[in-house]
């Protein structure tokens, strides 16, 4: 059974007990992203302190992969500067393009922490977009939040 490779226990933990879920004030930007092929949705807010991400709050509905991904992302990006957070997002994108290659996951373990558990998802092309939706929303929201400041 290959299922366990994709649904790592860490992913299921994030899914059952999401970190940082709920929409909070204050925020400088709010975005709503959907996955048009499956109907998954996330509403995501970013609150900046200077260029540091002070809070990411979100609501959404979707599969375990999309919901666990936003929870793991929350843990990774709080306290980081926007460029640092986006760089982490790039690493996550690299992981999603690895087609299950374990050496890619090994190299990214330090940068991605819990999110490296999504390595198994990269073997299922139809699910990669589920894992990436929250990161796309973060990129969009943080760009808008920076824009709102200037």
């Amino acid at each position: 059974m290959q299922l366990e490779a994709m649904y790592q226990e860490i992913i299921l933990d994030h899914y059952r007990n999401p970190h940082g879920r709920g929409l909070r004030e204050p925020f400088e930007a709010e975005v709503h992203h959907v996955n048009p092929t499956c109907g998954d949705e996330v509403t995501l807010r970013v609150h900046l302190d200077g260029d540091t991400i002070a809070d990411v709050s979100y609501e959404g509905m979707g599969c375990s992969i999309s919901q666990a991904s936003v929870s793991a992302m929350y843990d990774l990006v709080i306290g980081k500067s926007v460029p640092q957070a986006l760089e982490t997002g790039d690493h996550f994108m690299t992981l999603m393009q690895a087609k299950g290659d374990p050496s890619v996951a090994e190299k990214l373990e330090d940068e991605l922490e819990d999110a490296v558990a999504f390595a198994g998802v990269s073997k299922y092309p139809a699910r990669i977009k589920c894992a990436l939706m929250s990161w796309m929303a973060l990129k969009d929201a943080s760009a808008r939040a920076l824009g709102a400041q200037s």
Binding site: L3, C38, G62, C63, S64, Q67
Partner: protein, 447 residues
């Protein structure tokens, strides 16, 4: 080799679901489909429950396409060489076969790419009619003050083209709603379909709910007020006998790839006098009568709507698919799927936490079964099923308003066809239970 009644096998131990004898010989039919002998996900038997998205193809369809390319390949309706003659003959013969299959006149069958293109053809013809220089093409012109009626149950293919038509022409889109048990709500039929209605577009069988709609009542009302009726047969023509004369609509659309045929070929059937009054949608070669630099005149239907070299091999493949279905008998296909649907509804009802979205029994219902599993997102259900070799569809099934109407983000959908057997339905039910175990949501009474 096909269509031989099967010896009934008893219900599985521990299940109250009844296995009535199936009209089709599933094992013999499976042998006709090369793809069903492959395995998926580390050697598992392919349990294909996604025919509603696209059907698998029997060898005779694949052979027909290969025969065409190896023996007669040429552009039909062009050239005077022997191959061109034979290609034209094979193409037109397939048109006759397909026309007979739906009880239509041959010159009322237009080949398109799929149902989506057939619907767009009609929608664009109706807006082109408003600006046609030929007075005979303006009869069905749509404009401000006109109304187009659809239903909340439609596939995006039978909704978005009408939204767009209304945006192009200033017409108004209206729709019939749904009841809680997955049926059309016809309580306001008489007001929604009224003297301003130009066209009613409605599906015969819902791709997501499985509902078979009472078209007679809707068509009668539409014709009473002088409106045209387009029936989306993408999910009905493959699964039940459909005769356009009995149906009484003005248009019927369906896709070849959902009825054992190749991708890239679909059908628009239209009543001849209606087709004849419509301007073209796509223009170019094949569809013209006379071309001068100053302007052109067009062929009568069906050629008027078939611009360019057509998908000849695919049309011939669809002809072979229709012959395959005729050998099985569409009454048998319908009865086969009815028996499977009854069994599947019972099997799913035995699993706590599973909710079927759509009619709960087989009354006026086809074999598309959408369901949710409490505590597990449909994608995750689909993933666990896939891991066991079971192919189902997950998501909103190109009918987003329907899932919204029933307050779910998405569903998992199983669809049946001629090669589906009770073993496939058992695999589905077992797979759902495995998903519940995997995600730790086994309801208390099961644990």
């Amino acid at each position: 080799m096909t269509a031989v009644a099967q010896v009934p096998s008893g219900p599985r131990p521990g299940s109250g679901a009844q296995q009535k004898p199936l009209p089709l010989d599933v094992e013999a039919i499976r042998a006709d489909f090369p793809i069903l002998s492959r395995t998926v996900r580390d050697g598992k038997r392919l349990v294909y429950l996604d025919s509603g998205a696209t059907s698998q193809k029997p060898r005779s369809v694949l052979d027909a396409e290969r025969w065409f390319y190896e023996n007669v390949n040429a552009a039909p309706h062009r050239g005077a060489h022997q191959l061109a003659e034979e290609a034209t003959g094979a193409y037109e013969e397939a048109r006759e076969t397909i026309a007979r299959f739906i009880g239509a006149r041959t010159d009322e069958v237009v080949f398109t790419r799929n149902s989506t293109e057939s619907i767009n053809l009609v929608a664009y013809a109706l807006s082109n009619a408003a600006t046609a220089k030929e007075p005979e093409f303006r009869r069905y012109a749509v404009g401000q003050g006109d109304e187009i009626v659809v239903t909340e149950m439609e596939h995006h293919a039978n909704l978005v083209p009408w939204q767009q038509l209304c945006e192009r022409t200033g017409a108004t889109l209206r729709w019939l709603g749904l009841t809680d048990d997955g049926r059309l709500d016809l309580s306001d039929l008489a007001t929604v379909v009224n003297e301003r209605t130009t066209l009613v577009a409605v599906t015969q069988q819902s791709n997501i709910l499985g509902t078979i709609n009472p078209l007679g009542e809707i068509i009668a009302r539409a014709h009473e007020v002088g409106a045209l009726v387009l029936v989306d047969g993408a999910q009905s023509v493959p699964h039940q006998p459909v005769d356009v004369t009995e149906l009484g609509a003005d248009f019927l659309v369906f896709s070849g790839h959902k009825m054992l045929g190749p991708t890239g070929v679909g059908v628009l059937w239209g009543r001849y006098d209606v087709l004849d009054a419509l301007p073209p949608f796509l223009t170019g070669g094949s569809m013209i009568e006379v071309v001068r630099m100053e302007g052109s005149t067009f062929m009568p239907p069906p050629q008027r709507f078939e611009a360019g070299v057509p998908m000849t091999a695919q049309v011939i493949g669809l002809g072979a698919a229709v012959e395959y279905l005729q050998r099985l008998g569409m009454d048998n296909v319908l009865a086969h799927e009815e028996a499977l649907t009854a069994y599947a509804l019972e099997k799913l009802a035995e699993i706590p936490g599973v909710t079927v979205i759509g009619p709960p029994d087989t009354v006026a219902r086809g074999g598309a079964i959408s369901f949710t599993v409490e505590g597990i997102h449909p994608h995750d259900v689909g993933q666990v099923l896939d891991d066991q070799g079971i192919a189902v569809r997950v998501g909103h099934h190109c009918a987003w308003p329907v899932v919204r109407r029933y307050g779910v983000p998405a569903t998992t959908r199983a669809t049946f066809y001629v090669h589906t057997g009770y073993d496939d339905v058992d695999a589905l039910a077992d797979g759902i239970r495995k998903a519940q175990q995997f995600f730790g949501v086994v309801p208390a009474e099961e644990a």
